[in-house]
């Protein structure tokens, strides 16, 4: 390839000596994942803002309906928190490049995902308000729907990656994907905690 360089190369770098992937902030996948987390974190923050904006429009809150039942929301919070354990074990197994442990803990993560998606169904049924009842109901369903979308997409991501780790074709770079998939799961759990308090406790405390 022609170039209009004026100086003879003096400080060449031989890339063959470099590794072909890296973990954490040195991988492009980490930056992509963090970028997506920034976008979706903003979406969650705005949805919570809408909830409290709607709160300011009425005197009695929640308007004309009882607050959501605590049982299933609290149960799901516990399941989500517990899922952090297999998730972190899968992340660490990935970073150790320990394939049997990755397979085991990703399978456990998938089981947890099935559990909280089922309980999430009961959560929707126990909100005590419909999306078209009033603006409060709209905000509640929007928040819970938004978080459920994240649960569902991360559930599919995790299944697909887990199956790949069982069947191949495998290369070692996939261990980075395992690590980043677990990072994203941490985000989905971390985003849930403020949403849990907003949905279930704000109507009782405010």
């Amino acid at each position: 390839m022609s170039s209009v360089q004026t100086a003879a190369p003096r400080r060449d770098i031989d890339a063959r000596a470099l590794p072909s992937y890296g973990y954490g902030a040195s991988s492009l996948m980490w930056w992509g994942t963090v970028g997506v987390m920034a976008i979706e974190g903003t979406v969650f923050a705005l949805a919570i803002m809408m909830y409290f904006y709607v709160r300011t429009r009425v005197d009695v809150f929640p308007p004309d309906v009882p607050p959501p039942q605590l049982t299933f929301g609290t149960l799901n919070t516990l399941i989500l928190l517990a899922s952090c354990i297999p998730n972190q074990l899968a992340k660490k197994a990935g970073e150790r490049e320990d394939l049997p442990a990755v397979r085991l803990w990703m399978a456990v993560c998938v089981l947890f995902a099935v559990a909280f998606l089922v309980v999430r169904g009961f959560e929707f049924a126990a909100l005590n308000v419909r999306w078209d009842t009033n603006a409060y109901g709209s905000a509640v369903w929007f928040l819970l729907g938004l978080h459920t979308t994240h649960l569902a997409t991360d559930f599919i991501d995790t299944i697909v990656l887990a199956v790949l780790m069982w069947t191949g074709p495998l290369e070692r770079h996939r261990f980075v994907d395992v690590s980043e998939n677990a990072l994203y799961w941490w985000f989905v759990v971390a985003a849930w905690l403020p949403i849990y308090f907003v949905l279930y406790w704000a109507p009782r405390w405010m």
Partner: protein, 655 residues
């Protein structure tokens, strides 16, 4: 320590490919499949730019139609209903389908070249982003032709756009267009940010990043945090319209002003998403034609970042005519004035650069001088509008139309045309005609001022925006006619630009690698650069590497099949690892088609979100799933980061 992964021995991993495997080079394919499957940032960038420019022409034709309608009082060329659709389509196209996408496309094309890498990060995602954007544009223009184009203004205020007054599907098409463009924009933003932080040429530390790249980086961060607001807004709007939620319905505890907050929390940063890339283009052009290095580089960088931050604190100045507390208005007046400071700092730095340089008055520089003049006028009327009493008086009049066109055409379109003249040789290998370029510039500059300056006066005289006609008794006829003559002049000017492009593509003078004797890395490569940009990524030790022998070496030993890219550390651009990049594939296009079916289906039934998600999921999984051949090729190049893995295993580090 060999640090073999557990399981590798028992055959869980793909067998590495042999020499022959890694020798088969997946070059850019030709033909229709090559066109549909490419992941080269330059090909995607060019088609992004061309699509956005065609949409600019569409929206320009709509603007010309409006000017013809308004040329004389009580004209009946266009009826009120069509006129509503036309001004809504004009604004929506210019803001969502032209201005932001074309700036993203410029970043997509030039950021990888300027930082010296071989492709954009996540190239398949960028291919997907382009297709989604294209299909969104096709959808909205199809709706417009079928007389279901949106008609509630480009900011689609409720209740006019809500279920009660916005009957039919017009506003639903608008809301889904927003979803299309925002998905596309956010994906490009993540890619550009990652490219800037992780793929810079070794030695390009953060204080050596070109100002154009800094401007694009600031813009992409604005996109990341502002676009979610309009996505939340447009989703809530379509939910109100489609499934009976009450976000914007005051009768059930909602609030119409909530829409305005959501829209302008995006909408004001959006102005800066359009304007800041313009600043980047100015900073690329000014030093080259002043023939000296940019004056005040650190001040320029800090100003760009300050502008990006401050742009999030201005949104309420679009809402001064609503019931916002006075204290709030005071804050947003102050913030709106403060943001003039970083822009002024940059203006003075450019003036200093030109003053102390030896300016060569070529067409790109003429456009920058036009930018100075028009932007300053638009900025001054911006300060006027930032003061609440004046804003209340001229809110929703033609004064605002004049102001926003001075800011956006002056701040973005003039630099962009300067950028076209400057970089056209890089895109195509041929120069544009200087003589036609001067005609193009002067007709645009004069036509612009003739078209838009009278609108200031019309606004002060009380002529409201978005009226399809006016009575002769108002006395607005003469100024409107002058304005229309200006618009016709702009049409002639843009037509000359198209002639210039067509003639240059056929028989323009060959450009060579660096026709302007410019300083940044894109000019090191042949015009146009080959697929994969460069085999040897440069090692640099200067901010202006082509001016002071700043290329001190090359990176050797990167594979070309699959194309390997050097990944460097975020601040110092120290070599970190090499990464095999994705090869061309049809799946981003398939996924974009599935996504389009979901988005358009959801205009008609909420169940489309459920059923439409199935093909989208299948396409995404097929996109992700690796092939044996691809994995073998990667395995042939594989070299694990032994030290990191040993640390994770708690083993002693060995050399």
């Amino acid at each position: 320590m060999t640090a073999r992964a557990i399981g590798e021995a028992d055959g869980a991993f793909e067998r590495p490919g042999d020499e022959r495997d890694s020798a088969e080079i997946p070059r850019e394919r030709g033909g229709i499949m090559g066109f549909l499957t490419t992941v080269d940032h330059k090909r995607i960038g060019v088609r992004f730019i061309v699509t956005a420019f065609v949409l600019f022409l569409f929206a320009g034709v709509l603007a010309a139609l409006m000017r013809l309608q308004l040329a004389v009082p009580e004209n009946n060329l266009i009826g009120p209903d069509r006129y509503n659709q036309i001004f809504t389509m004009h604004g929506t196209t210019m803001m969502f389908l032209f201005a932001v996408p074309i700036m993203e496309a410029m970043a997509l094309y030039f950021v990888p070249l300027m930082v010296g890498t071989r492709n954009i990060a996540f190239p398949r995602m960028n291919a997907y982003a382009f297709w989604v954007y294209l299909f969104g544009g096709v959808m909205i223009y199809t709706a417009f032709i079928l007389d279901v184009g949106p008609d509630a203004g480009w900011f689609s205020y409720v209740p006019l756009a809500g279920p009660e007054y916005g009957v039919g599907k017009r506003s639903d098409f608008w809301a889904q267009l927003i979803t299309f463009t925002e998905v596309s924009g956010l994906l490009v933003a993540v890619s550009v940010i990652t490219t800037v932080f992780k793929q810079r040429a070794p030695g390009m530390t953060i204080e050596r990043i070109p100002l154009f790249v800094w401007a694009m980086l600031a813009t992409m961060f604005m996109i990341l945090f502002a676009m979610p607001a309009v996505m939340v807004g447009s989703t809530s709007l379509i939910l109100d319209r489609l499934v009976g939620t009450h976000f914007f319905n005051p009768a059930e505890g909602g609030d119409a002003l909530l829409w305005q907050h959501l829209f302008w929390f995006f909408g004001h940063p959006e102005v800066y998403m359009i304007f800041v890339p313009g600043l980047g283009i100015v900073s690329a052009i000014v030093p080259v034609f002043a023939r000296r290095k940019q004056f005040g580089y650190p001040a320029m960088v800090v100003s760009l970042i300050a502008t990006a931050f401050l742009s999030f604190g201005l949104w309420v100045h679009h809402m001064f005519a609503t019931a916002i507390p006075d204290m709030g208005k005071g804050f947003f007046t102050a913030a709106s004035m403060v943001i003039a400071v970083p822009t002024a700092v940059q203006l003075f730095c450019w003036i200093a650069t030109l003053w102390t340089g030896r300016p060569a008055l070529r067409v790109p520089l003429w456009y920058i001088l036009g930018f100075f003049f028009i932007l300053v006028l638009g900025g001054l009327t911006g300060l006027m509008l930032a003061s609440v009493p004046l804003d209340l008086q001229i809110h929703d009049t033609f004064f605002v139309v004049a102001h926003l066109h001075y800011v956006l055409i002056g701040g973005a379109v003039f630099p962009l045309f300067g950028g076209f003249y400057y970089w056209f040789p890089k895109f195509t290998g041929r120069m544009l005609s200087e003589r036609l370029g001067l005609w193009n510039f002067w007709l645009f500059f004069i036509g612009f001022n003739v078209a838009f300056f009278p609108m200031h006066i019309l606004g002060l005289e009380g002529m409201p925006r978005r009226v399809y006609t006016y009575s002769a008794a108002m006395g607005w006829g003469t100024l409107n006619l002058i304005s229309t003559l200006g618009a016709v002049t702009i049409v002639i000017s843009v037509a000359l630009f198209l002639v210039n492009v067509a003639r240059s593509l056929r028989s323009g003078a060959p450009a060579g690698a660096n026709p302007w004797d410019a300083d940044t890395l894109e000019w090191r490569l042949p015009s146009p650069p080959a697929p994969g940009n460069t085999q040897g990524i440069p090692v640099v030790n200067s901010r202006t590497p082509l001016w002071d022998d700043g290329i001190v070496g090359e990176v050797r030993g990167l594979a070309s099949s699959p194309p390997e890219v050097l990944v460097t550390s975020g601040l110092d651009a120290h070599p970190d690892h090499r990464m095999a990049f994705p090869t061309p594939t049809i799946w981003p296009l398939v996924a974009a088609i599935a996504t389009t079916a979901l988005f358009i289906g959801s205009i008609f039934t909420p169940w489309a979100v459920v059923w439409g998600a199935i093909p989208v999921t299948i396409a995404m999984i097929a996109w992700f799933w690796p092939s044996h051949a691809e994995t073998r090729r990667h395995r042939a190049l594989e070299k694990p980061p032994f030290a990191e893995i040993a640390k994770a295993r708690g083993e002693e580090r060995t050399a």
